[in-house]
């Protein structure tokens, strides 16, 4: 008889454990504690139990009945709290808004990362410059047609005499070349991203402020083949290995030989479209072997040290990468735009 009581208790706990809903719990309650339930069945049996064991049996059964009732009661309270209210898991999670980096910053960082991998070191260089660093030291004669592309914002009267004291906003990041070489001895491998300024009327493709990345390397035995190798590697990392690259001669006062570097148009794949002006090629980089005149200007022995340098416009690359068609969007800072860049 007592064994049956043990079994009753054991069964109850097992069933309880499998109970998931209030409905199931109510079924169990009826099954065990109901008027015709299992506990009631045992109670009915009490008179037929041997007198010497009747007392023990009765008290044991009572204990079981009480603990079953307590446990069910407790569980009912729990269920009434949780499962009787509908829980909508579809509501959006709590607001943890994560911010964004500016697409120009993302692009500069991507460029930095690639060149860091190639051994370059990132430096900063002043935006407020003087004529010497922006022009003369870079072999750009002041009153020469080769200066026409470098229209410049002056911060002081450009008629002042001494170029080192004629302050202006740098019109290209090549100034960093001179600054770095003046300060450090070769070998050097340097990348200098930053803002540059030109008095251009603002439209979809012109801005009076934009960003450039200048890079250069000086060591013994650096040659044109190295320039091609490093820049080709960069372009593949930046634009993927499906692009074609081409190097073609150009003229920059601070490099000789100079090369302009194109990639096959990433929009039309070289077939010709409005982005590449039907040419199938996109101009990405200006580059060249550092002109011995420039090395001489910073006191490097050009017989011993050779170098290459390159520069690129960040907005242009960002516009190509993201398919942005108006440079002004970068400086409006519309959050509907900014939120798109993670």
């Amino acid at each position: 008889m007592f064994q049956e009581l043990d079994k009753l208790e054991k069964d109850f706990y097992q069933e309880l454990e499998n109970t998931k809903t209030a409905l199931e719990l109510s079924d169990i309650k009826t099954k065990y504690l109901g008027r015709k339930g299992l506990v009631a069945d045992f109670l009915k049996q009490i008179p037929s139990i041997a007198a010497d064991k009747r007392r023990d049996f009765g008290s044991r059964l009572n204990n079981i009945k009480k603990s079953i009732a307590d446990i069910i009661d407790e569980k009912e309270k729990k269920f009434s709290k949780i499962s009787e209210h509908f829980f909508d898991i579809s509501l959006p999670g709590s607001n943890y808004k994560v911010g964004t980096r500016h697409p120009i910053t993302i692009t500069i960082e991507r460029i930095n990362d690639i060149f860091i991998g190639l051994g370059f070191k990132i430096i900063e260089s002043p935006e407020i410059e003087n004529e010497y660093y922006n022009f003369q030291a870079l072999n750009i004669p002041l009153e020469h047609p080769s200066r026409d592309v470098f229209d410049t914002f002056y911060l002081e009267d450009p008629l002042k005499k001494d170029p080192k004291y004629k302050r202006l906003l740098r019109s290209q990041t090549s100034t960093a070349q001179i600054r770095a070489m003046e300060k450090q001895k070769p070998p050097l491998q340097i990348l200098a991203p930053g803002k540059v300024y030109r008095p251009d009327a603002t439209d979809a493709s012109h801005s009076f402020m934009f960003h450039q990345v200048e890079g250069f390397m000086v060591d013994k035995g650096i040659n044109f083949s190295h320039l091609k190798g490093v820049l080709s590697k960069f372009l593949v990392e930046m634009f993927g290995n499906k692009i074609k690259t081409r190097f073609r001669p150009h003229y920059f006062p601070f490099t000789e030989p100079s090369a302009e570097v194109d990639i096959s148009c990433i929009i039309c794949k070289g077939a010709g479209c409005s982005v590449c002006g039907q040419k199938g090629w996109l101009e990405i980089l200006g580059s060249g072997m550092i002109n011995p005149k420039v090395l001489k200007e910073v006191g490097y022995d050009s017989g011993k040290w050779q170098g290459f340098a390159f520069g690129m416009g960040v907005e242009r690359i960002a516009m190509l990468r993201y398919g942005i068609n108006d440079i002004r969007l970068f400086f409006d800072n519309d959050v509907r735009m900014l939120n798109q860049f993670k």
Binding site: G99, K121, L188, M209, G221, S225, G229, R248, S258
Partner: protein, 680 residues
């Protein structure tokens, strides 16, 4: 520059298609930017780099085509040389050259009894293919020679020259001239003119004057061909605001030999087309072109290009470019530079010539040995950290312009520094440099709020600029702007407030283990009077934060939102910043937390009480937190109720209840004394 394909073919036999030719030229550094079929011709648009004035003519381009395609050029020499028997005229004139520095060479020839009229069809076609309108036979011929040889010419109506005299001189101050295009210019002594006995008749190298223009009535002409100083032409052209086909070429430098070839070519064409008798050429100044040689070794070429190029190839390329080569000893070349290549002055210039004809694509790619060495990029690492925190706080990075309107800059100049003006601004938008990013960030906030963007949280890490005595200072700041909704969801809507801003500023500064950060009430006019603070690091002001004044944001078209804004001078932060901090051992003994609740005057800053408590027992009090601030019912007027939670902990042992109670009681007592606090 426009180049007519048909015209080009007069001097060189081109078998390939125009597109292919364009490609070949582009890959040799003469960039063809577009091609267009016009009638039976193809017009090339070419970008001529400023180092190659010799390409500013059809024959110049033909020479390049000849080098690129390895084809001979054919030019009929006799058409470019006037011989004595051609000089049948006998009119005379005096030419005086006063300023040889501005005009090293001047030539003039009278051609008498010319018949001015329309040009023959072939000439008209040539002129029109260059995008010009045919004017009359004489003018068309001078233009034809300009395009063919790159040497500008000018024809004067000889009979209009007073006293048959021509003088090359500096203009007199305030001397004025009416040009062929109808404009009037006032000149100074810096400008070179061609004059007759009493008036200027041309601005040298730029444009002729109306008073001596060749018209249908012209009988006798005086034909000018000269070399004008490039710098002088450039300055005058900029000064009077006129750029012409002629000034464009003089500025870049014409080829002195062409002064004669163009003079003779035009003379013969005029004689043949317009009739007339040329007289003897008058030459003033020096006429010899300088010849230059450059010595270069094969080793230098190979080392610079990273290849082993054949000697025969080197020689062949030099020859194709009209450079004569002599091999002095083994692999040492002496290269004679043709006089029209003034851009070739040092050995690397020759290397560029070799490699551009050899083909950049024939140079292999190679990765150099890395330089290596220490990479100290402290500032960059610091900025990277700030970026991460700012993004983590939900801010969008903005980039705004470094320049702005002067009146706005002055209004926002809260640090009272000297503003840097732009000497040559393009518009009001770039009148001066920013001394703070705040107005620019506010512009962006306004832009967003006025475009239904209801939540604006921006930051920018950028430079500000100002003058300090003679020095121009440029330093990096972090600027933050918050406006509108912080969150907008079923969970409840929250708007940004002052403490959101302050929390972000604190989160940023905590990145650098800089400890002594304090906030003090401030009085900047750009902020609302009662919600602004200066940020101090080690007692030194490093920034501000606050709510923009209503009046200020109204002028930026913001009506119904508060704009919270902060700016921190990062240079100061970087000075104290620590990136690699040491590990602090985790306490082994438990802490005890006790709260304290007091009533004090409402003007006492809660944080001043918290720091007071912290300082009292700095060894045993680990942390003091402000857990509640209450004003209102049950609190007397002008008072506030503040609650603090104090964490007591000894790193060496477990504090007993008695010890903590004693400490806590002494804190209470001191608060009563120091702040007249009433303990609740």
């Amino acid at each position: 520059m426009r180049i007519s394909y048909n015209w080009l073919k007069e001097y060189i036999d081109i078998k390939i298609k125009p597109e292919e030719l364009a490609d070949n030229l582009t890959m040799a550094g003469l960039e063809v930017t577009s091609l267009a079929k016009v009638n039976n011709d193809v017009i090339f648009e070419m970008e001529i780099t400023p180092n190659r004035p010799d390409w500013l003519s059809i024959i110049g381009i033909a020479k390049e085509v000849s080098a690129v395609l390895s084809k001979k050029i054919n030019i009929k020499r006799s058409a470019y040389f006037v011989s004595a028997k051609d000089e049948t005229g006998n009119k005379k004139t005096t030419v005086e050259l006063y300023d040889e520095d501005l005009c090293p060479l001047y030539t003039a020839r009278i051609i008498e009894s010319v018949q001015i009229g329309p040009s023959p069809k072939w000439l008209r076609d040539r002129i029109e293919s260059m995008g010009l309108r045919s004017i009359n036979n004489v003018v068309d011929i001078t233009n034809f020679c300009l395009f063919e040889l790159g040497q500008p010419l000018h024809a004067f109506d000889f009979d209009k020259l007073s006293k048959n005299t021509l003088i090359v001189r500096r203009a007199k101050n305030e001397e004025s001239i009416e040009l062929i295009d109808g404009s009037s210019k006032t000149l100074t002594t810096d400008n070179l003119v061609i004059a007759d006995n009493d008036k200027p008749i041309a601005v040298a190298g730029i444009m002729g004057a109306k008073n001596t223009e060749v018209t249908e009535k012209t009988k006798n002409i005086l034909l000018e061909s000269a070399y004008f100083n490039p710098l002088s032409v450039r300055r005058t052209s900029r000064k009077i605001g006129i750029s012409s086909e002629s000034s464009y070429r003089f500025e870049r430098g014409v080829y002195i030999e062409n002064v004669f070839r163009a003079q003779d070519r035009a003379t013969l064409l005029i004689r043949d087309i317009c009739g007339g008798k040329p007289s003897k050429l008058i030459i003033k100044g020096k006429s010899q072109a300088q010849k230059n040689t450059i010595t270069i070794t094969k080793k230098y070429i190979d080392d610079t290009l990273g290849i082993d190029i054949k000697k025969a190839t080197i020689k062949k390329i030099f020859n194709s470019l009209e450079c004569t080569v002599k091999e002095k000893k083994r692999s040492v070349f002496i290269v004679a530079i043709p006089a029209f290549r003034k851009d070739l002055s040092q050995p690397v210039d020759l290397i560029e010539e070799i490699v551009r004809i050899y083909g950049y694509h024939n140079i292999p790619d190679d990765i150099p040995k890395l330089v290596g060495g220490e990479r100290k990029e402290f500032r960059r690492k610091c900025i990277e950290k700030i970026q991460n925190v700012a993004i983590g706080c939900g801010l969008n990075e903005a980039i705004t312009y470094s320049m702005l309107e002067k009146n706005v800059a002055e209004k926002f100049n809260y640090t009272n520094v000297e503003i840097i003006s732009i000497f040559n601004p393009l518009s009001k938008q770039n009148e001066c440099m920013r001394t703070t990013v705040l107005p620019l960030l506010l512009k962006s906030v306004s832009y967003n709020l006025n475009r239904q963007n209801q939540s604006v949280a921006l930051y920018e890490i950028g430079n500000i600029y100002y003058k300090l005595g003679d020095k121009f200072v440029e330093k990096t700041v972090l600027s933050i702007a918050l406006a509108g909704f912080k969150s907008y969801s079923w969970d409840g809507n929250k708007k940004f407030n002052y403490y959101d801003l302050k929390g972000i500023v604190e989160a940023v500064l905590k990145q650098f283990s800089v400890n002594n950060i304090t906030f003090e009430p401030s009085v900047h006019t750009i902020f609302m009077a009662n919600s602004q603070a200066d940020v101090l690091l080690e007692g030194k002001k490093i920034g501000v934060l606050g709510t923009f004044s209503k009046e200020l944001i109204k002028s930026f078209d913001i009506d119904n939102e508060d704009v919270y804004i902060a700016e921190i001078d990062l240079e100061s932060v970087f000075k104290y910043a620590v990136l690699d901090n040491k590990f602090k051992e985790i306490p082994k003994f438990p802490y005890v937390q006790r709260d304290i609740s007091i009533i004090v005057d409402e003007k006492i800053l809660a944080n001043s009480i918290a720091s007071f408590i912290k300082k009292r027992e700095s060894k045993l009090i680990q942390k003091v937190e402000i857990i509640d601030i209450y004003k209102g019912e049950q609190i007397p007027a002008n008072k506030q109720s503040l609650a603090f939670s104090i964490t007591y902990q000894d790193t060496g042992k477990t504090l007993t209840d008695g010890e903590v109670s004693k400490l806590h009681e002494s804190v209470k007592t001191s608060l009563m004394k120091e702040f007249s606090a009433q303990i609740r």
